[in-house]
Amino acid sequence: MFDNILLGLNIAFSPGNLAFCFIGCLLGTLTGILPGLGPSGAIAILLPLTFKFSPTTAIIMLAGIYYGAMYGGSTTSILVNIPGEAASCVTCLDGYKMARQGRAGSALAIAAWGSLIGGTFGILGLQFLSPYLADVSIDFTPTEYVSLMVLGMVILVYLARESMIKGLMMAVLGLLLGAVGMDLISGKERFVYHSITLMDGIGLVPVAMGLFGITEVLENLETSLRRDVYKAKIKSLWPTKEDWKRSAGPIGRGSVIGFLLGILPGGGAILSSFTSYAIEKKVSKHPEKFGTGMIEGVAAPETANNAAAQAAFIPLFTLGLPANIVMALILGAFVMNGMPVGPLFISQHPDLFWGVIVSMYIGNIMLVILNLPLIPVWVQLLKVRYSIMFPIILVFCFLGAYSLNFNYVEVVIMVIFGVLGYVFRKLRFDPTPLVFALVLGPILERSLRQTLIISEGSWSIFVTRPISAVLLVIAAALICLNVLSAFKKMKARRKENKKTEVASPVRLS
């Protein structure tokens, strides 16, 4: 372990990697602060640029954007009451109220320190757990991979806010899109229709840029966000003794909750921040005061979302499976750099793994320094009009998609997915499972076909192998749970309807 950390220090402290770690953190903070572009959008836009870097540098920067956004998101939530990033939504509730009461400094400081503690806890878990999990998963055959991917998609869909059927439809659509292009085993073209661009398949970059970059622009063009920037001077940016005392428990619990939920596929930062807030409200002696400016309501979610952001790297580094959409994009970066990620990844590329780990420690410290003293600068940035921001996003989207193959068709694909993404959002079809499945699709197909060849066409292999069977049983149980709860809700609604029919004199007449 000590040798590995030394190796990581060596890599992370090289001037290039240090600079890109800083750039990643800075861009992450910006994405977190500026509403209208989340970390997935920023990473999708910057993916093509990273092809020119070494994989280590690319991952260090992309990871920096992700956890940087978690830090930055709290600033806008507290000062403007608009979450710059979805995981910071819940911070608005108490953070903004604290700012209104003249305690913006305390809220910002506890958010930053909580983030640092939660983030560090997450990295420690990632550092110590990953090598062991990788050892366990080394025995995984294509059969277990198929079951694991199925479970991953089911969990992702299960935890999604929208309907499970819609989520599954999006995941299946993503798998179909992943099948476009040349079949790797037979060499036959599938759904290509004589298009040279489609021969290589539908790329992750134009799809992700479209669904997260262009869709965001279209959605923001329809509404205008009201920004009421906090104008009073921010006093002390250091939490008081009392603040620390009240926040210690929430930070501790937030770290653990964030870490555990971060590992889960589909969990990630958003779920963990909401869950930790809900738990704090439950354990508090004054739950009624939540939403009125309780520091616990800032400390817990901000700690949890950072712990989750780091923990999400565990399934990626040990199994090659992304836990959330940002991880799916980072997996895409690995695949496009020609680096397979899986159980052997840590032993085959210790430089990358330990370099990224150490860079995360450095990045977390950089972020506290970036976020606290520079708050006045970030506040000024919030005043930037959307008419200036969206052309920048558009330019990067057009440049990024075009630079993939220097082909305008990639840009057309991106715009088509941007428009589709807008329609999906309006119809409440969450596009996240689609991108997730698009990344996993080719791996799933290869593993499925390998399994069927091994088993000579017998599907029973999925239930006769114990790990695979357990994974599939969990997936089936989750689907059943969802169906059952839907039935229960339907029954309850019917009862309610009947009651109102009886109670309503108009209907009776």
Partner: protein, 173 residues
């Protein structure tokens, strides 16, 4: 909502049927030696099943005439974040559709004409129209932003980084 769900489910159903037919034509192979059409066919069957389920669900909801607001709100979503945060909302509104539809069409035309018009002209026109007409900014502001969004990236990425962006009809200069 149930109506929109029904329409989208029918579209997905048609897509799944089309993919299934195309996949069959690709060659299904056998279970022990799956062909190139095997996987997309299986996936299209799944899509077909889910689309049918959504159709049934939507029809039941239409039949029961449930209140759409009630049905959509899950517990986690009940938190009202702030007066400043606006929900993107469900469905389409006429005014918004005009703005977004126009912007989407412009982006689509812009991307199709990227090679013909060239990066600079294409980005200038797209950004200018969006800022001036959709965002209703002044002529001066829109021109400055459009120039910055077209000429600056061209100078940086084409001339300095050497990315070779399309020049289109501007090659004549």
């Amino acid at each position: 909502m149930a109506k929109l769900n029904l329409i989208s489910a029918i579209v997905f159903l048609l897509v799944s049927m089309w993919v299934a037919l195309e996949s069959k034509g690709l060659g299904m192979g056998t279970l022990s030696e799956p062909g190139p059409g095997f996987y997309p066919f299986g996936i299209s069957v799944l899509l077909l099943v889910f689309s049918l389920l959504l159709i049934i669900q939507s029809l039941i909801k239409l039949f029961l005439k449930n209140d759409q607001e009630q049905e959509e709100q899950k517990e986690g979503e009940k938190i009202v974040f702030s007066e400043g945060l606006q929900d993107a909302g469900f469905g389409f509104e006429k005014d918004k559709i005009k703005r977004v539809g126009g912007a989407a069409l412009l982006l689509l035309v812009g991307s199709l004409l990227l090679d013909t018009l060239g990066f600079v002209l294409c980005m200038f026109l797209v950004v200018f129209v969006l800022v001036k007409i959709i965002e209703r900014e002044s002529l001066r502001f829109s021109t400055i932003i459009a120039l910055c969004a077209s000429v600056l990236p061209y100078v940086i990425f084409d001339k300095l980084v050497g990315m070779q962006l399309p020049q289109g009809i501007l090659t004549i200069f």
